[in-house]
């Protein structure tokens, strides 16, 4: 019997290989995040200067929107080629499939954030890199929280009707607490005197959310995906 993590690695490697051939998801997601940031930057600029506290919010909105798009596209690709059913039929433990899909999305979002974070820092002249470790903790935990629920919902909606509009409809209310924590933590770091205590509080809360969401997702993935 192949081990759990070997299965995860095999599926992840397959996804990455497919993606690297065309890089379609990568480029489109990154460019979409870029457009998001620009639209919001333009919307919140007054007399040539952006609103002071807008940066944290805009960063996380861009991550949420780009993430939703990537999730939808990623599972659309699976659905189109009917590979999801093949995966389900394979002798692979279901949670391993979920974890592999989650890892794929995380890789994609990490690449997107590598572009978006410096962009936001540049456009809004915010000292985002003063506390890189805390910022990375926030981004990591927040993205994991968003992506783990997103992967579950995108997988379960892959064969539903109206899936394009239902994914954001279902995903956002559940993940807004994660977004709130991310935004508040980031803006605590961006204050004139960075409020480390607050940032750490939000990081701990994000950790808590992540544990709850990942556990729930792992429990419900199997019953939801059986047909």
């Amino acid at each position: 019997m192949i081990s759990f993590w070997r299965i995860v690695w095999l599926i992840l490697r397959k996804d990455l290989a497919v993606e690297l051939r065309t890089r379609e998801l990568l480029y489109t997601t990154m460019f979409f995040a870029l457009s998001c940031v620009l639209i919001f930057a333009v919307a919140f600029v007054r007399e040539g200067k952006a609103l002071t506290d807008a940066a944290a919010g805009i960063l996380w909105i861009a991550i949420a929107f780009a993430g939703t798009l990537a999730l939808g596209r990623s599972f659309e690709r699976e659905r189109y080629n009917d590979t999801l059913r093949a995966l389900m039929l394979a002798p692979a433990v279901r949670p391993a499939i979920y974890v592999a899909k989650l890892a794929g999305i995380l890789v994609l979002l990490a690449a997107t954030e590598l572009l978006t974070v410096p962009l936001v820092a540049l456009l809004f002249s915010e000292p985002l890199f003063d506390r890189p470790l805390l910022l990375m903790a926030l981004l990591l935990l927040g993205t994991v929280g968003f992506a783990c629920v997103g992967t579950l919902f995108a997988a379960m909606l892959a064969r539903a009707r109206s899936r394009d509009v239902l994914l954001p409809l279902l995903l956002y209310p559940v993940t807004i607490p994660v977004m709130i924590a991310g935004v508040r933590g980031t803006s605590a770091l961006l204050d004139a005197e960075p409020n480390i205590g607050m940032a750490q509080f939000w990081i701990v809360l994000l950790l808590f959310f992540d544990v709850v969401f990942i556990t729930l997702s792992l429990w419900t993935f199997e019953p939801l995906m059986t047909e």
Binding site: V149, L152, F153, M156, L157, R159, A160, R161, S162, R163, L166, L169, L170, P173, V174, I176, P177, I180, V212, F213, L216, T220, P223, L224, E227
Partner: protein, 217 residues
């Protein structure tokens, strides 16, 4: 369930005027005066929304595990009632807040989390309506997440400093406030049970209709 319906309606007809009398008799609250009386039909629906959300989540979990249709019927009924009671709480709340706090709405944790939970269950109903076949299971998965949200809503007032009154206020209410509140709560609870029974009956009839369609073909 059907046999309980009439007694529940009778009980409601007794509770309704009783609660009105008790609410009118309760003293005026010192700082807020008359508008505080909205409390008696703001707090019970709000608490029941939370319980309904948890109930929906539990029943959905049971549906995912056991796959018996009765759990699904209860889940969709509970979700609709969560949306209804949540709507009531979130309309009476701002009406009270307009006078008590001066604003219709603030983005403090209790209000924000309540709104989010309400939206989760609205999206549950949208998923069931527009998701096509198989959406019962998907919606059940969503409801489990909605249930996970509920404890956060409850403790949010105790953990964060917010404008919303804390949960510790309730045990310390004076007698006339408490009686009016709990009678009102009883009324809303009975109403909830009656509506749940009616809604489940609708679902059962729909399932019977589906079975008939199968037979005809």
């Amino acid at each position: 369930m059907r046999k309980l319906f009439l007694p529940i309606v009778v009980a409601l007809m007794a509770i309704y005027p009783a609660s009105l009398v008790l609410i009118a008799r309760a003293r005026y609250e010192s700082t807020m005066g008359l508008v505080q009386k909205i409390f008696y039909f703001h707090m019970p629906p709000a608490m029941l929304m939370l319980w309904s959300a948890i109930f929906c989540g539990v029943v959905s979990g049971l549906f995912l595990i056991r796959k018996r249709l009765i759990w699904d019927h209860l889940a969709v009924a509970a979700a609709e009632l969560t949306v209804l009671y949540g709507l009531i709480a979130m309309v009476t709340g701002p009406l009270w807040a307009r006078k008590a706090w001066g604003v219709w709405w603030t983005w403090d944790p209790r209000l924000t989390m309540s709104l989010l939970m309400w939206m989760i269950f609205v999206s549950y109903l949208l998923l069931r309506k527009y998701g096509g076949p198989g959406s019962e299971k998907l919606a059940a998965g969503l409801a489990v997440f909605g249930m996970a949200n509920a404890p956060f809503v409850y403790i949010s007032v105790n953990v964060w400093r917010t404008m919303h009154p804390k949960t510790t206020v309730v045990p310390t209410l004076p007698v006339d406030f408490a009686t009016a509140l709990w009678v009102s709560f009883g009324g809303f609870l009975l109403l909830y049970i009656a509506l749940l029974a009616a809604r489940v009956r609708l679902e059962e009839q729909r399932a019977a209709l589906d079975r008939l369609f199968m037979e005809i073909e």
